[in-house]
């Protein structure tokens, strides 16, 4: 039983791969019907699937492929000309074959879908019989009498390909090939004039045959069928596991690099450092190579997705009565398997849209003086750590003004919003759900769903979409997608005292702005960046980070983009770019808003990775006036009681003396027994401290360290720090100045002196 299951799985994998190639080959065949090489490879596919399915006793599938094989065999032997009508039938039968294969994959049999094959088989028969060369006339009679033909009868006529081994088939193909080559030229001329087109009665599909229809063509794809590469099939789960292990290794490497930096600082000039450096560099190099190598094993050429488009565009152009040519570039560009799977749907929607709304019909194109055949280009190429997919059409383009009007009509935006919108933002409107520019809903599109799907899928991949369009010239849709999802490059930013990792693929740029550049429009903070208007939010507001630092005059803005939208994220520090491995935070913290996961940094600490999609969602609901909150100055202080002094000394007695000295001022006083405690009090924001009296010699954190720590916060740049100490030497005083002390009082001191110094520094002069 297991054996059979294994064979079945192999069969399915093989069959799906074959079919993918088949679609492309068939469309190509239509433009070059004489390409024997192509015909042969198509024939081989039908034959292989037939052989395997009969072995696995999938009778329905066998029957279908058998009839396909018949038609193809005739075409191969030049007994049948592949007209568009014939191709329609063949393509349709391939669709049914696919449906059957899906059914087999899902249900393990081909009867579950209970597909009615009589019709298609009848048509295949008709086509196959349709323009037979004379010797097969008797067969035609059979067809006409009973469309569903007895299998044995068919197998009996001509060579029985089903009973041939693969080798024999190859041999047969070879034989026919050489035969053909000689005859081809002579025959062709005669044939094309004499061979009748498929008879109308031959039950060809009722699709309208557009008179001016141009044959869609694809550039000759590289034929790899003959070059056999050596491969092994590996389960994806094994590769996933390998990737996870590499992820751990990358984190280990990051950590090693960080430790090396620390060691280098501490043991500068030591001899062993050189050796350590070599080892660390070697390991980091190998790890990076290993990571790339494993990533490559997961990579698939994007051809896997692109392959279905020639067929799709061909069908669409026939259905819509337009002439559309599809050109594909860069189908060998590779990207991660998981991404290849996600990207198919969005592409289908975009290409459908380009066919339906983009490219005009033939008459319109001609009257505009354009080439009557529209051109759609599908391009893929690498750019840094991302892959870019471009869909270009030379159709009528998007009219930004029309889009604005339509959006206002539907109540999606207000008129002011529309006025403030740049053209690019207006183009982005097409991604709104239920927004459609189509005058009427057609079979192909117009329901306003497709582009929404595009947006959602690209968001899932952390990709960015850009639209560029010119009325009358065409539209370019550009999608930028990260190469892989497991290990990502991230920008580490600081919001107050917390750090977050932003996927680099979503970051378009970082800018440093001054507060004056922030404008307020309808209660929202915006930034004018070149010709764009960005709405601004603070990362710390989104994540509710405690405000500790007073921001300076300048601040950093990280411009992040997702799918079609952009936003400016205000952060307090930019740390740098780092390689991060997304780790789940477990069931307990699954699905936290705004957080995609966590990663372990070089120092062993955990840093949260921002989920751009939900972050943008959260940003929308946020209303904080950044400018106001950033500029909020201390309340005006008038009375001495409004002022607070912090006394930092480890000796209770010293603190009491200071207290007594300052009592005449009437100022509030609080105490801390060491530097650490004082710093915590200061940072907690609980007290609004105006002056600090600091002893130098204290446990846990001395006065010098405390002063230099305090000076790190721009908010406390001007806070008066008064050193009160028994250290009197010049070097001590100097150190005091270096660490940022404002005044230096040596013990013993007179109470009046201290009082005066404090008064001077708080500007509380005695009346």
């Amino acid at each position: 039983m297991d054996d059979l299951q294994e064979i079945l799985e192999d069969f399915l994998v093989e069959a799906f791969e074959l079919i993918e190639q088949l679609d492309q080959d068939l469309v190509e065949l239509e433009t070059t019907p004489e390409d024997l090489e192509l015909l042969n490879s198509i024939f081989r596919v039908a034959h292989t699937i037939k052989g395997s399915s009969s072995f696995l006793s999938f009778d329905v599938l066998t029957k279908l492929t058998h009839h396909m094989e018949d038609v193809l065999n005739k075409a191969r032997k030049n007994e049948l000309k592949l007209t568009e009508n014939v191709m329609d039938v063949v393509l349709e039968s391939i669709d049914m074959m696919k449906a059957l294969l899906y059914c087999i994959r899902d249900n393990g049999n081909d009867t579950e879908v209970s597909m009615d094959l009589d019709d298609i088989i009848g048509r295949l028969e008709a086509v196959s019989a349709g323009d037979d060369i004379p010797e097969a006339t008797n067969e035609e009679v059979v067809v006409e009498d009973k469309p569903v033909i007895d299998e044995k009868q068919v197998e009996a006529e001509e060579e029985d390909y089903s009973s041939m081994s693969d080798d024999e088939v190859e041999a047969e193909i070879e034989r026919l090939l050489s035969e053909k080559k000689e005859e081809a030229k002579k025959k062709k001329a005669a044939k094309e004039s004499s061979a009748p087109v498929a008879k109308p009665k031959a039950a060809t599909p009722a699709k309208p045959n557009t008179p001016k229809k141009k044959e869609s063509s694809t550039p000759p794809a590289k034929k790899q069928a003959s070059v056999l590469e050596q491969t092994i099939r590996v389960e994806v789960s094994r590769l996933d596991h390998l990737m996870n292990l590499i992820g751990e290794l990358v984190l280990g490497k990051n950590r090693l690099l960080k430790i090396y930096d620390d060691v280098e600082e501490r043991y500068e000039g030591e001899k062993f450092l050189e050796e350590l450096n070599q080892v660390v560099s070697a390991i980091s190099l190998v790890t990076t190579d290993l990571q790339i190598a494993v990533m490559k094993t997961r990579m698939l050429p994007i051809a896997k997705v692109f392959n279905k488009f020639p067929r799709m565009v061909r069908d669409l152009s026939r259905e819509l009565g337009k002439g559309i040519e599809l050109k594909i570039f860069g189908e060998e560009t590779e990207l991660d398997k998981s991404i290849v799977e996600e990207i198919g749907d969005p592409l289908v929607h975009i290409v459908r849209n380009s066919c339906d709304h983009g490219v005009e019909d033939i008459q319109t194109r001609e009257s505009c003086g354009k080439n009557p055949t529209g051109l759609i280009e599908l391009k893929a190429y690498n750019e840094g750590n991302s892959i870019v997919i471009e869909i270009t059409d030379d159709g009528k383009g998007l009219d930004a003004d029309l889009l604005r009007i339509k959006a206002i009509e539907k109540g999606m935006i207000t008129e002011q919003e529309a006025d403030a919108m740049g053209d690019k933002e207006a183009f982005a409107l097409i991604f709104k759900p239920a927004f459609s520019m189509a005058a009427k809903v057609t079979n192909v599109s117009g329901r306003g769903v497709g582009m929404d799907v595009v947006k959602t899928n690209i968001e899932k991949l952390n990709g960015i979409i850009e639209i560029d369009s010119e009325v009358g010239k065409g539209t370019i849709i550009k999608m930028k997608i990260p190469l892989t999802l497991a290990i990502i490059q991230a920008l580490i930013v600081g919001a107050q005292e917390e750090y977050y990792a932003i996927p680099l693929a979503s970051v378009s740029e970082t800018v440093r702005i001054s507060l004056d550049e922030i404008y307020t429009v309808e209660g929202r903070n915006v930034l004018r960046l070149r010709d764009e208007v960005l709405s601004l939010v603070r990362l710390s507001d989104i994540f509710g980070v405690k405000q500790v630092y007073e921001p300076g005059e300048f601040t950093y803005v990280v411009v992040i983009g997702l799918a079609e939208s952009k936003i400016g994220l205000i952060v307090d520090t930019l740390v740098g770019q780092e390689e991060t491995v997304i780790k789940s935070m477990g069931d307990y913290l699954q699905g936290i808003n705004g957080i995609a996961g966590a990663t372990i940094r070089g120092d062993g600490g955990v840093t949260l990775i921002v989920d751009i999609a939900s972050l943008m969602e959260m940003a929308k609901g946020l209303k904080v006036d950044i400018r106001e909150s950033m500029q909020s100055k201390n309340k005006v202080k008038t009375k001495p009681e409004d002022y607070t002094a912090l006394i930092v000394d480890d000796s209770k007695m010293d603190r009491t003396i200071m207290r007594k000295s300052m009592e005449p001022i009437g100022i509030n006083m609080i105490e801390a027994s060491n530097g650490q405690e004082a710093l915590t009090m200061l940072k907690s924001g609980e007290y609004d401290i105006d002056v600090m009296l600091i002893d130098i010699e204290m446990p846990r954190m001395d006065g010098y360290t405390l002063a230099s720590e305090i000076r790190k916060y721009s908010r406390y740049k001007n806070l008066p720090l008064i050193a009160v100490t028994s250290r009197t030497s010049k070097s001590d005083r100097l150190r005091g100045v270096e660490s940022g002390m404002t005044e230096y009082i040596t013990k013993p001191y007179s109470p009046e002196y201290l009082e005066n110094v404090v008064r001077k520094n708080t500007k509380l002069t005695a009346e």
């Binding site: 917390e498 477990g586 069931d587 913290l589 808003n593 705004g594 957080i595 955990v606």
Partner: protein, 164 residues
């Protein structure tokens, strides 16, 4: 010589078998203090007990979820049991520990005030949780009676369950 060896082997074999026979209904627990009360959890649910280390705050979660921390390369949530039990939070002391517990699906760290001891208690000495403890959302597995004190045995699965 071989006699001696046999004796030792015999002894070892006995030791191996004994616990299974005699300790059948003994439950092994680890006791710890939160606030004024002693709690306990089954020893088999404990991955490890560590001294407090740095953790990273996670936004938009209840206040008893302090954040996440790194334990041997995995990212694990940290929950303050004091806050979870509605007690006033205190700063870490020298006795504060993180107990890392694992359930069927996930692993989570819990902050406790201090450890007491490993406890062996006969399962017959454990009473089911009183009805009134439903207020704790069924976090109590049972009450262990000891010579001089009572012990609240917590249900690990419900501690590990996300309830927000």
């Amino acid at each position: 010589m071989s006699d001696k060896l046999n004796q030792i082997l015999q002894k070892q074999a006995n030791q191996l078998h004994k616990p299974e026979n005699s300790d059948e209904d003994i439950v092994q627990l680890v006791g710890f203090i939160i606030g004024d009360e002693e709690y306990a959890i089954p020893i088999l649910n404990i991955v490890e007990i560590i001294k407090p280390i740095d953790f990273t705050r996670v936004p938009s979660v209840p206040d008893y979820v302090l954040g996440v921390f790194n334990i041997r390369g995995s990212v694990v949530p940290l929950i303050d049991l004091r806050r979870k039990f509605n007690l006033t939070p205190i700063n870490n002391t020298g006795d504060t520990r993180y107990i890392v517990m694992k359930g069927e699906h996930n692993t989570t760290g819990f902050v406790i005030d201090r450890l007491t001891e490993a406890i062996r208690i006969k399962s017959s000495r454990i009473d089911p949780a009183p009805d009134s403890s439903g207020g704790d959302k069924g976090m109590v597995y049972g009450i262990g009676k000891r010579e001089d004190s009572m012990l609240t045995i917590l249900k690990v699965e419900s501690l590990l369950r996300r309830d927000f």
